[in-house]
Symmetry: C2
Subunit: 488 residues, 2 copies
C-alpha cells in the first residue's frame, strides 16, 4: 500500500470538517469548525484544492429526494383544468393556495445547495469573505482544467452570492492618496491592469496635483481595494496617455475643465464577472462634479484591446482572396470566395498605401502591405509621412470595429461593451493615443474617449440593451459615412 501523502491527509481533514460544519443539528455553524476548515484548505496544494472543490461541488449539493417530493407535491396542487372556470375562492381553494405558497417557499429553501449554506456561514466570519473570493479564484482555475457541470454550478452560485454581498450600498469609496499606508499603495502598484506602474514613486505622480485615485472597499475586507480608478484633471478632453503619464508640469486644478478616467483595474480574480467598475465610475463622476463645479466633461481614455485581433485575421483572409483572383475578374470564381471577399480598404486608401509603400513592385498588394506593417516591428510609427498614410484607413476601420462589430447583440470589443452598457457614448478616436508597444500591438496606437453624461446614462443604456444601439458622436459617425474622405 502506498504511503498516504500529506495533502491527502489534509484533504481528508477538509472533507471531515465540511461535513461537520454542514451537518450540525441547528442552523448556527460554529466559528471553530469553519475556522479550522479555512486553515486546512489553505494548507492544501493545487492538487488538493482541486479535489476539495470537486468534493464540495458534488457531495454538498441539494437533497435530491426532498426536492423531488416537493415538486411532486407542488404539481399535485395545480388547479384542475375543469375547475378553471370557477373563480370563487372556496375554503378548500384558499387552503390549496396557502399550500402552494408554502411549497414554493420550501422548494426555494430545498434548492439551496449545502455548499451555499457553508458559504453563507463562512461570510459571517471575520476574514471569511476574502477567503471565499480567493477560493473562487481557485475554482475558476480548476474549471479551466476540468470543465465539469458540477464545478460550473458551484461557481455560478458563489458568483451570485458575491453579487448580493457586494452591492454598491455596502461598498465604501475611498480616495487613495500618498497619505495612505505603503502597504495599500504597494497593492495598487501590483494590481494596476492598464498602464503599468514602475514603482511607488511612479505611483506618487498619479496621486499628485491634477490627479485622483479612488477605490471601492468592503468593510469585511479591510485594506483590500476591490476595484480602483485613476483620473486626470485636464484642460480639454485628453487625447493621449503619454500626456497623462509623462507630463512634467501638472495643470493647476482650478484651470481644469475636464476629468479623464484613464485607468480602471479590478483586483480580485475571484470576483471575475462581478461588475463594480460601473458603480465606481458614476460615483466618482458625481463626487468630482460636486467637489469641483468647473468640471464639465467626463470621459475615459480607453484602450481598444480587440481592434487588431479583429482586423488582422480579416486582412489575412482578404489577402488570400485577392491573391486567388489577382486580376479582379470574378466570373469564374467559386461562389464561396465571392461571399467572403470583403472590401476592407477604399480605393483611395489603397492608392495612398501603394504610392508611399509600394515601391516599384507592380504586383504590390495594399492589403498585404498593411498586414505587414501591423504585424511588424512598428518602425512606420516613427516616420510621420508613413504614419499619416495609413492613418485614415486605420481610423475608419477602428470606428467600424467599435460601432458595427457585434457578437450576440453586444459590442465585440469588451471595453466598448462595458462603457456603452454603463451609458456612455463613443465620443472621439485618438491617433497615437498610446505609443507604447502594447498600445501599438493592440490597436495600432489608437485610443478612444467614451463620454459620460450622468443625466443621459439611463437612456443610452436602454437603447443599447433594447436595440443594440452603440451611440457615437457625429465626429465618429462621420468615419462610417459612404463618402468619407479623410483629411488629416
Amino acid at each position: 500500500m502506498l504511503p498516504v501523502l500529506p495533502w491527502q491527509m489534509i484533504l481528508k481533514r477538509v472533507q471531515q470538517l465540511m461535513y461537520e460544519a454542514i451537518h450540525m443539528k441547528n442552523t448556527d455553524m460554529p466559528d471553530k469548525t469553519l475556522g479550522l476548515l479555512r486553515q486546512e484548505y489553505l494548507k492544501l496544494d493545487w492538487e488538493g484544492r482541486s479535489r476539495a472543490l470537486l468534493v464540495l461541488s458534488t457531495e454538498f449539493g441539494i437533497d435530491n429526494a426532498r426536492v423531488v417530493n416537493l415538486m411532486r407535491h407542488y404539481l399535485s396542487l395545480q388547479p384542475d383544468d375543469s375547475k378553471r372556470e370557477i373563480q370563487k375562492l372556496e375554503d378548500s381553494e384558499r387552503g390549496v393556495l396557502a399550500a402552494r405558497y408554502r411549497t414554493e417557499h420550501d422548494l426555494r429553501s430545498a434548492l439551496v445547495p449545502l455548499s451555499s449554506r457553508l458559504f453563507e456561514h463562512m461570510n459571517g466570519q471575520v476574514g471569511g469573505l476574502k477567503f471565499l473570493v480567493d477560493l473562487r479564484a481557485d475554482l475558476i482555475s480548476v474549471i479551466k482544467q476540468q470543465n465539469l457541470a458540477s464545478l460550473r454550478a458551484l461557481d455560478a452560485n458563489l458568483k451570485g452570492m458575491f453579487s448580493t454581498w457586494l452591492g454598491p450600498a455596502c461598498l465604501e469609496l475611498h480616495q487613495i492618496t500618498w497619505e495612505d499606508s505603503a502597504s495599500l499603495l504597494e497593492k495598487i502598484v501590483g494590481y494596476e491592469a492598464v498602464h503599468p506602474i514602475s514603482n511607488l514613486y511612479d505611483l506618487k505622480r498619479r496621486l499628485g496635483v491634477g490627479r485622483r485615485c479612488y477605490g471601492y472597499f468592503h468593510p469585511a475586507m479591510p485594506g483590500e481595494p476591490l476595484v480602483f480608478i485613476e483620473v486626470a484633471l485636464t484642460k480639454d478632453m485628453g487625447a493621449s496617455i503619454q500626456e497623462v503619464l509623462f507630463d512634467e508640469v501638472p495643470l493647476p486644478e482650478s484651470e481644469a475643465t475636464a476629468a479623464l478616467f484613464y485607468s480602471i483595474s479590478s483586483t480580485q480574480p475571484g470576483l471575475k464577472g462581478i461588475d463594480l467598475g460601473n458603480f465606481l465610475i458614476k460615483r466618482v463622476a458625481r463626487l468630482l462634479q460636486q467637489e469641483m463645479s468647473q468640471l464639465q466633461v467626463f470621459t475615459t481614455l480607453s484602450p481598444i484591446p480587440g481592434f487588431l485581433k479583429w482586423l488582422i485575421p480579416k486582412l489575412v483572409s482578404a489577402c488570400k482572396s485577392s491573391n486567388v483572383n489577382p486580376s479582379g475578374n470574378s466570373v469564374d470564381d467559386t461562389a464561396a470566395s465571392n461571399v467572403f471577399k470583403e472590401e476592407l480598404l477604399h480605393k483611395s486608401e489603397e492608392r495612398a498605401i501603394l504610392e508611399v509603400f509600394g515601391g516599384d513592385n507592380k504586383d504590390a498588394n495594399p492589403l498585404e502591405i498593411l498586414l505587414r506593417l501591423l504585424t511588424s516591428d512598428q518602425e512606420w510609427v516613427k516616420t510621420e509621412k508613413l504614419a499619416d498614410t495609413v492613418r485614415p484607413c486605420l481610423m475608419r476601420l477602428c470606428a467600424r470595429y467599435l460601432l458595427r462589430e457585434k457578437k450576440r447583440g453586444k459590442a465585440l470589443d469588451p471595453v466598448t461593451n462595458f462603457h456603452v452598457r454603463n451609458g456612455a457614448i463613443v465620443e472621439r478616436l485618438n491617433w497615437m493615443g498610446n505609443r507604447s508597444t502594447k498600445g501599438l500591438q493592440e490597436s495600432a496606437g489608437i485610443m478612444v474617449n467614451y463620454l459620460y453624461r450622468l443625466e443621459k446614462v439611463e437612456e443610452i443604456n436602454q437603447a443599447y440593451l433594447n436595440q443594440g444601439e452603440i451611440r457615437a458622436s457625429p465626429a465618429v459617425e462621420e468615419y462610417l459615412q459612404p463618402n468619407y474622405r479623410a483629411c488629416i
Copy 2:
C-alpha cells in the same frame, strides 16, 4: 357610476408603474419608473396601500407555467431506478447531470417572484432601502387585518432579503454622543423602547460620564439608527435601573470594572424579526474590552416582560382548585382537578404570607392574597415588612419562570430567549430592580442580569439550541433546589 376616488386613481397608477417596472425587455429597471412608483405609493392612504400590497402579492408572483415545466423536466431527468447499480459516468449520464444542474439553476431563478425582483431593483436606488423597510411596516399591519397566504409569502420574501442586505459586515457601528446632530438625538428619544427618555436633556445624561450609547447604521439609510444600545460603566454589576437613570454623581470611568447594558431598542417596525441586537451587543462588548481593559464584567440589566403574565393566570387557576377543595382532601376529587392542582407556593411561604397578611380570617387563602397583591395598586411595595414577606416566593417563582418555562423548546420569556440564544447566562435576579409602575406590573419589580463572556458564547448558544439548556449561575440555580429556604 360612482365618481372615481383620488386614491383609486393613484392605485391604478401604482399598478401601472409596477407592471412597467417589471416588464421591461431587459434586466435593468429604469430609475425613473421606480422613482415614480415610490412617489405614487407614498401618496396612497391606508386603504390604497392595503390594496396595492395585495396586488403586489397576488399578481407579481412566479410564472407558474414556467415553474411547472421546469419541474416536469427535472423529474424526467431523474435517474432510472433500474440503472442505479451502474455507476459508470457514460457520456449520456454526464449530459443528464449537466442538464440537471442547469434545470436546478433555472428553477431557482423561476421561483423568484416578480415582486422580489422589483424589491432588488428598488434597493439599488438611493433611498430605496428605507422605502422598502417602511413598506414592510405597512405590510405587517395589513397582515394583522387580512392574514392571507399571499401577503405572508410576500412578507417572508422581503424579510429574507433584509436579512441578506443587513448582514453585520455591512452595518456601521457609531457611538452616539452629544456631538451628534439634534435630529439624530431626537430620533433616539423617540425610538427608546425600554426606559422612556423624557426629553433631550434626559438623553444627555445617558450620553455623559460613565455612560455610552452605540447604534448600528446602514450606509444606504444615512442618519437612521437601526438598533441602539445604552451602556453604564459601573463599579460592580448593576442591580437596579434607578441607580443607572437617576444617580446624581457619575462614577469616574477609570474606577469602572463592569459594563452594564441596560437598554436595547430596535427602531424600524419594518425590520421586525431581523435580529441586529445580537451582533450589536457583542460588537460593543468587544469594543469596550479593547478601549478599557479594566472592564471585566459584561452584563445586561434586563426586564422580565412575561413574568406576571405567566404567574397571574397560574395563581388564578390555583385559587380556583384550592377553593373547590378547601379541606385539602382529595379522595373524592375528580381526576381532572388533581392533574391541574399545582403547588405554587411552599408551605413555609404560605405560612409567612398568612402571618403578615392573613389577619383574623381563618379561611384566608395565601394564593388569593398573593394574587390580590400583584394585581393591586402595589402599595405593599412601599412597606419593607410587606415586601420582604413576598420576596422569597416571588424570586423563587421568577427563577422557575426564567429557567424552566419553555415553549417549543425555547425559553418562554422572549428577552431570556434572546440573550441565552446569544450565548449569555442567567447570572442574578435583582429584587426591586425596577420600581416603576411598568416594572412592578411586568415582573413585580424584579430585573435580571444576563452575563456575557465572549469566549463562552458559542458553547452556551450550542447547548441552548441543541439541548434546550438555559444556563444559570449557582446563585440562581439555588432558588430551584428542593431544600431552598430564602434568607433575605
